[in-house]
């Protein structure tokens, strides 16, 4: 399971960076989404995967008796997903606006800000 997840995270990061390096704005956004998901899965993986051991203390004891799944990474991922969702929706709207105003999808043609003025 760990190996599979690790491979998948690697592929997500690689694909994401590849997409960000493309010139098209839409592919840029797809790249950001892919890397973001890769990062979320990475937190999940590095929080150690423990199967079938929820972090609930049995009724008749005060402390955990066995190894248990760490709940913190899941809280982190939840936060990160919500944040990246917000950012991605903003990004899509921004790209749409930029496409309408600049009339191009090609990042190489977006160089008005670098010109001397």
């Amino acid at each position: 399971m760990e190996i599979l997840l690790a491979l998948m995270i690697g592929i997500l990061y690689a694909a994401g960076i590849y997409m960000i390096l493309r010139r098209s704005l839409v592919k840029l956004i797809i790249g950001i989404i892919l890397i973001g998901n890769g990062a979320n899965l990475l937190i999940f993986l590095l929080g150690r995967i423990t199967k079938g051991a929820p972090p609930i203390i049995p009724e008749n004891s005060e402390v955990f008796l066995d190894a248990y799944a760490d709940p913190v990474p899941q809280a982190l991922i939840l936060t990160a997903i919500v944040i990246s969702f917000g950012l991605q929706s903003f990004a899509i709207i921004l790209v749409r606006r930029a496409h309408k105003v600049v009339k191009t999808d090609d990042l190489d043609e977006m160089n008005a800000t670098d010109e001397d003025s």
């Binding site: 704005l25 990062a39 990475l42 950012l87 921004l94 790209v95 800000t113």
Partner: protein, 504 residues
């Protein structure tokens, strides 16, 4: 418990932002509320600063979950100083925005978002939890995306695309670093991490994590070679927005670098060498970049990059003197960079241009205003006794005692090149006789606007110039403050004790 006061600025900013949203279309009410709120915030942060100056580090555990399990807010002298500086810049920009930002932009929620941005900045300075720091960073960048795009001009949208891509990428790298760090240590509390990271056996992985943090924060702080988004975007939004960005946004990156590399990843020679190399290249490339620009705001954008190098150099040398120099520079830089972008806004309002080729004759036309603008410009160069001079003494002194002659060379080179740039700017903008330009009929010139609005343009510049003058002439006090901050940063046990054992 009195220690709770350190989170009051956060409450104040979020309340202001919410209150302002109720006045969505009534922009005059928004202007008044924002200015009053920012003044109240300044008073509040002065109080917090004096409390911390007298009593040492304050910490608050959210929901009373004991550290390291809950989210911690901790204010040492460093955090308190930066929160105070945020309030000072925030007040100035609030006044400046109410005069300079056009009503169309104000009607789209400029002020609420501005206060959300300040909320994020305060939060980032005060938090003691690394994941919480990530969340505050996200609040900062989301607010800054809105501020940079509000108005929707062509250049703004293009700048925003670049700004936003690299900042999101930086956040993801930061998140990756947090993931690896959590995997190594199982903790997120920065004070707790300090001990746990030192105990990790897999030093290679710790180093990789540190580099990930360096890249993540480095993009935000705009250090070489990660700065290209900054000159492409900072000159596009209204100058009020640029001034809060230039004054505080990159400095949050620097703050995070200083915090993480003095608390969590300490004493790694390899990392210090990387930091010093980065600093040297930042100083040189930022300076050379500024030299060839003609747009005043682009010149200032490159100067931001150049001067980030001083702080990184101080952090890289990592002695008490060097860190004190870096902190002093940070204090000086926040005030002066905010002021510079407001200055560029003022120039634009007067001449309807920011190009050095077109501008000119300023001194003949506005002699008093020119003398006022002399203060921020030459504070930036660091002509003694103005404020930019003092931190460089500490930095150069630290360079000599550590034998970092390349760093000293780069520091002197960057100071010299800043002098050249400012002298060129002074000659072009203030002394040169300009060509006659036709007046734009649609543009509202400075000479046409009412007395009150003129005051809204000039008063914040005067205010920040006075602060700059204080930093220059009261350098003794600021040096005392920086030394105390450096002492707290280097002997991080004080911070760790305060967070983990309640301090006091």
């Amino acid at each position: 418990m009195t220690q709770q006061i350190i989170i009051y600025p956060l409450f104040l900013q979020i309340l202001l932002a919410i209150l302002l949203m109720f006045f969505w279309n009534r922009i005059n009410a928004q202007r008044v509320i924002s200015i009053i709120g920012s003044s109240a915030n300044l008073a509040l942060t002065i109080w917090i600063f004096s409390e911390i100056w007298q009593n040492g580090i304050y910490s608050v555990q959210a929901g009373n979950w004991e550290a390291p399990f809950g989210i911690t807010f901790a204010a040492d002298t460093f955090s308190a100083t930066l929160v105070l500086l945020t309030a000072i810049s925030g007040l100035a920009v609030s006044v400046f925005s109410s005069g300079s930002v056009i009503p169309d932009r104000l009607r789209f929620g400029y002020f609420p978002i501005f206060h959300f941005l300040l909320l994020g900045l305060n939060g980032a300075f005060l938090t003691g939890d690394i994941f919480n720091l990530y969340v505050w960073f996200e609040i900062i960048i989301i607010s800054s995306f809105v501020l940079i795009t509000i108005g929707g001009e062509k250049a703004q949208l293009e700048g925003a695309v670049k700004y936003f891509t690299l900042n999101i990428l930086a956040s993801i790298i930061f998140l990756t670093a947090i993931a690896v760090l959590y995997g190594l240590t199982g903790s997120l509390n920065m004070a707790d991490l300090a001990g746990k990271v030192a105990a990790v056996e897999n030093r290679g992985l710790v180093e990789v994590t540190a580099i990930l943090f360096l890249i993540g924060f480095g993009i935000k702080a705009a250090v070489f070679p990660l700065y290209f988004w900054l000159p492409a975007s900072y000159h596009t939004p209204p100058s009020a927005v640029s001034s809060i960005f230039g004054g505080l946004l990159t400095k949050v990156g620097v703050y995070a670098l200083i915090r993480v590399f003095t608390l969590i990843f300490v004493g790694d020679v390899f990392l210090d060498q990387i930091l010093i190399a980065v600093a040297i290249f930042t100083l040189i490339s930022g300076g050379l970049g500024a030299l060839v620009q003609n747009n005043v705001r682009k010149v200032f954008s490159y100067l931001i990059i150049c001067h980030i190098g001083y702080m990184i150099a101080g952090l890289g040398m990592f002695t008490e003197v060097a860190v004190a120099g870096a902190v002093f520079y940070l204090i000086h830089d926040i005030v002066v960079k905010t002021n510079l972008f407001m200055l560029s806004g003022l120039l634009y309002k007067i001449k309807a241009s920011n190009s050095m080729k077109v501008l000119g004759g300023f001194y003949a036309q506005y002699p008093k205003l020119s003398l006022l603008l002399f203060i921020p410009l030459f504070s930036l160069v660091g002509i003694p006794p103005l404020s930019g001079f003092w931190p460089k003494i500490s930095l150069i002194q630290a360079g000599f005692s550590g034998g970092n002659y390349w760093t000293i060379g780069a520091i002197i080179f960057a100071s010299f090149i800043t002098l050249v740039i400012i002298a060129k700017l002074w000659a072009e903008v203030f002394w040169k006789t300009p060509e006659e330009r036709p007046r734009h009929s649609s543009f509202e010139y400075f000479s046409d606007i009412s007395k009150l609005r003129k005051l809204q343009f000039v008063a914040p510049v005067v205010f920040l110039s006075l602060v700059s003058l204080y930093i220059g002439f009261g350098a003794e006090h600021v040096q005392l403050l920086s030394s105390r901050i450096a002492d707290e940063l280097i002997n991080s046990n004080q911070y760790i004790d305060a967070v983990l054992h309640g301090g006091m």
